[in-house]
């Protein structure tokens, strides 16, 4: 059981944070992660366009045979992608908590430049401390 990986995308679709917490997903090169983030950003926009009913948002949950990905988009357009094992419960809660940690340790960091890659030690530490006991 557990969280496999967390990605954070800025509102332009650029990857600003990537971290693996568990075995399960392949390690990609940093360039591949950037491509993946960009692709997902586009797919997310299209999924709200192809909706057969009006008023749909973008992709929220994607399932594959080996994992499940939850996407949470904040009001400002930042996306949190949480990759978990297929039957991981309460991902919603985890996503919200990760967002809180982001708000606390990234946005309130006076040295963080907005939309740029996240290099905040306190965020890393607290994220790990939150995710690790849940594995």
């Amino acid at each position: 059981m557990g969280i496999l990986s967390i990605l954070i995308l800025n509102k332009a679709g650029g990857l600003i944070y990537q971290r693996d917490f568990n075995e399960g997903l392949k390690k990609l090169s940093s360039n591949d992660y950037l491509v993946l983030a960009g692709t997902f950003h586009g797919v997310h926009a299209i999924t709200s366009r192809i909706s057969p009913v009006p008023g749909s948002g973008g992709l929220e949950v994607m399932e594959s045979e080996h994992f499940r990905m939850q996407c949470f988009q904040t009001l400002t357009g930042t996306k949190f992608l949480i990759f978990a094992q297929p039957h991981q419960p309460n991902i919603d809660v985890i996503v919200k908590r990760v967002y809180e940690l982001y708000a606390d340790y990234v946005m309130k960091n006076p040295f963080y430049q907005i939309e740029m890659p996240i290099r905040c030690e306190a965020f890393d530490r607290n994220l790990l401390a939150y995710i690790q006991p849940r594995q």
Binding site: G24, G57, L59, S64
Partner: protein, 184 residues
């Protein structure tokens, strides 16, 4: 439990079959912009569903007025859907290896189910969000309807350019009946 639409894409990335339920009849009366699809060869039956003869023709002048900004034709919709499933499928394969496969995604308003055969034929079904996993259903459509009525049809071409060959009456009727059983 609502099923909105069903698409088949062949191995050349071409959409060879489209069928839609429920969405056209709901939005057509409120349509104010763009030409409606009634001048196309596809005829609409009284309750707003396409007649079986017309549903497989890939039209270019049909609009879908359900979207506020753009007026995408059914065909353009199919292209976007193909783009989405193709990207997601590649994303999944890249992240967890070639033996993994993309199953479904959902947004706040609909859910997309996906099944790919070993011959790269792609089946896509759009339903409402409450629907359970329908990969088995798509597999059944492939095995019991597509193989039986399209592949085994001696008059059917090997490749289905523009959807010819999939537009068989038996396949149409079987699909319609089968989808109806799921919706109930």
């Amino acid at each position: 439990m609502t099923i909105y639409s069903f698409y088949i894409f062949d191995r050349h990335c071409e959409c060879i079959y489209i069928k839609q339920w429920h969405q056209q009849d709901k939005f057509r009366p409120t349509s104010s912009a763009g030409p409606s699809g009634t001048d196309s060869p596809a005829s609409l039956t009284g309750d707003g569903k396409r007649s079986s003869a017309g549903s497989t023709l890939l039209r270019s002048n049909d609009t879908n007025p359900s979207r506020p900004g753009g007026r995408l034709s059914v065909q353009d919709d199919a292209k976007l859907i193909f783009g989405v499933v193709f990207s997601l499928r590649n994303m999944v394969r890249k992240l967890s290896g070639p033996e993994d496969s993309f199953i479904s995604y959902r947004t706040g308003a609909y859910k997309l189910h996906y099944y790919e055969t070993p011959t790269n034929l792609k089946f896509v079904l759009l339903t409402d969000v409450k629907m359970n996993n329908l990969r088995v259903v798509l597999h059944q459509i492939y095995v019991n309807l597509y193989v039986e009525f399209v592949v085994k049809n001696p008059l059917s071409p090997v490749e289905h350019h523009g959807g010819e060959g999939v537009a068989v009456e038996l396949f149409e009727m079987g699909l319609d009946g089968f989808i109806r059983t799921i919706q109930d």
